[in-house]
């Protein structure tokens, strides 16, 4: 019986899972500088989208009115209702509390009484220091895909106290990473796995790295020693959200922050906002705070992860199968061209495509070869056709 279809055996199909990673480099100039020269008001840059509700600010890689623009992340900030910074007279006080609570309930969940858990500095939710004032960087699904690859997140921030839009505030830098000094990751969040971001000095403004920008940090032979790195935030891998503690922007002596006393508290909220570090939040809008962080981003990078589930179908073509063709050019009249005039010549066919069919012979998937593949009774082939989901 001639036939054109061949059934798969159960052993002909195997399912595999592959993790694909892409490096996502976001340079600080893209976030703050490229479309934001100093003569454009902060927040009015064409690649920055602000909203009338004022709850967050969106950053695009191109002027967002263009169809070529990609949304890369959102920036927002807030504090817990129990934070020392919280106060009824604060600018957007309720919105900042709402944002903190929303992020906390999604990322940290609730305790046994139904109370929203606060962000925890060391991942031990039962005790330890809580991060009550935070920046949130919510990365687009376009960049994160299924998750951020653990150990690849790095956010480098300028820590020169004075605020400028010319890049001068980036001359001294610290880097927040989830690798150096990290003790693995945590699974006690309802939003998936998360790791701790640790801070280290990467540039002290000199040719040689010698001056620590962070309190109690040790630099030896131009290298920041991992054991001296302090927790500065959390990175939620599946959610694609970085939580950056407000203490990153505060001096240790006056505000119990991470910065070395010599570095002092930064200006965050713009040119005229004053020298208050994260305390600026009390008198500034979320948008002003977002602009402050955005213009201190020197570099941001991580690898994303795409979980690829594949079904590999082994199309086994035996020597005595698929040697003839129903292609109209295969015949001259009814005579097979490739045989010449000799029926003893072996039949030959050329494979260019593989079709995967349902039981009712509907074509469900197609795979193509890059070039015609010769098939005759002296050859056997196994074509591995991979279908990704």
């Amino acid at each position: 019986m001639a036939t054109v279809y061949k059934n798969f055996l159960s052993s002909d199909v195997v399912n595999t899972r592959t993790l694909l990673h892409e490096a996502i480099p976001v340079t600080g100039s893209l976030v703050s500088g490229t479309y934001g020269p100093s003569d454009v008001a902060l927040g009015s840059e064409p690649h920055i989208k602000t909203y009338s509700h004022g709850m967050f600010e969106s950053v695009y890689d191109y002027p967002f009115l263009s169809s070529s623009a990609n949304h890369i992340f959102d920036i927002t900030c807030g504090y817990a209702g129990t934070s020392a910074l919280s106060g009824a007279s604060n600018t957007q006080n309720s919105k900042k509390i709402s944002i903190y609570n929303q992020m906390a309930q999604v990322l940290m969940g609730y305790d046994h009484t139904g109370t929203i858990r606060l962000f925890d500095q060391d991942g031990d939710i039962t005790s330890g220091t809580k991060m009550k004032e935070c920046y949130f960087m919510n990365f687009s699904r376009l960049l994160v895909k299924d998750e951020i690859k653990k150990g690849t997140f790095a956010l480098e921030l300028g820590v020169v106290p004075a605020f400028t839009e010319t890049g001068d505030c980036l001359a001294k830098r610290i880097k927040l990473t989830d690798s150096s000094g990290s003790n693995g990751y945590f699974v006690n969040s309802p939003a998936g796995e998360y790791g701790i971001l640790f801070a280290q000095t990467t540039d002290d403004g000199d040719a040689t790295l010698s001056t620590a920008q962070l309190h109690e940090e040790t630099i030896t032979s131009q290298v920041s020693i991992a054991t001296s790195h302090k927790a500065a935030g959390l990175i939620f891998y599946q959610a694609g959200i970085a939580v950056i503690s407000g203490s990153v922007f505060n001096a240790n002596d006056t505000h119990d922050g991470l910065l070395d006393n010599a570095v002092d508290t930064l200006i965050l909220g713009g040119k005229t906002a004053g020298n208050h570090g994260f305390d600026t939040i009390t008198g500034s809008t979320v948008a002003v705070m977002a602009n402050g962080l955005r213009n201190r981003v020197y570099d941001l990078q991580f690898d994303n992860t795409t979980e690829l589930n594949s079904a590999i179908h082994f199309c086994r073509v035996n020597h005595n199968e698929f040697n003839y063709s129903a292609n109209p050019t295969y015949l001259n009249g009814s005579k097979i061209r490739v045989k010449g005039n000799n029926r003893k010549n072996l039949p030959v066919s050329y494979i260019t495509s593989v079709g995967l069919y349902s039981a009712d012979r509907e074509l469900l998937a197609v795979a193509k070869l890059s070039e015609p593949l010769k098939k005759d009774p002296t050859t056997e082939l196994t074509l591995k056709v991979r279908l990704d989901y």
Binding site: M1, V4, Y5, Y324, S334, P347, L363, V366, K368
Partner: protein
Amino acid sequence: MAFLDNSGDIILDAVLTDVGRERLAKGDGSFKITQFALGDEEIDYSLYDPEHANGSAYYDLNILQLPVLEALTDNAAGLKTKLITVSNNNLLYLPLIQLNEVFGGDQTARHGDGVFAIAVDETTEKKFTPGTHLVDYGENINQSAKYIRLDQGLDTTTLSPSMALPGDLTETQYIVEVDHRFCELYSSDCQERASISFIDDDNIATYYLSLGANSKFVFENNVTAASVATQVVDGPRGTIFQFKLKASLELNDSTSLFTELGNVKTLTDIGGTSTYYYIDSYIRVMGATTGYRVDVPVRFVKLKAD
């Protein structure tokens, strides 16, 4: 001793067709891959030169250099020609499927424009005499004796039609794909309406018509005489597949599809000439056993103005 080159694993990335995606989205278990077929639609076998002066290495040189197109995701357009498994390697001939326009004279002949023309409503039917104008009736199908016939077999004078076509080369089932917006399939005596197996996302209805189960559509060709004027297959003959088309209500009642998909043309009719809307399409007939495929050109016509 050198290592053998084991880099020849052929791994292909498949893309889902539109029907594949639709079934996957349904989530009802209808997306289940159970079989495969191999295609060669880019290959022009007339490039095969078994007489090449430089020897056998050059026979298929031109074929192997042919470029291959990316996959089409339209289920109806993918794998148009398939490879066949036949256990006998010594075949010199393969059966084909041919339109038989000579069997019934005007009853089986195409219109002068090279298509099977179908009048989609009674008003249009009254403008044509089927036997004279070679336009079939699509509404009152029993008022016209015209039908479409395809013959299967080995078209060669080398083998006598008195020889039986080998059983494994005899087509026992025909797969017919029809644009369901335009027409339905009926038996040539108008007595039986063919059952649709399924209609895909592009409104292509698929029919499976088998020898025995659909005896009004598929039957054996018992004519064994050579050089018969009613036959188009010169060698051993297999089966016959014949059918009529009934126009859809949409074509019958409305001109919307004609204005959207068709055009306007002047045709010769009973009164001389008139202007007609028309849509050109095709009926795809494929042998389930041999994979051989024929596209039958059809034209649906509707009177626009006398």
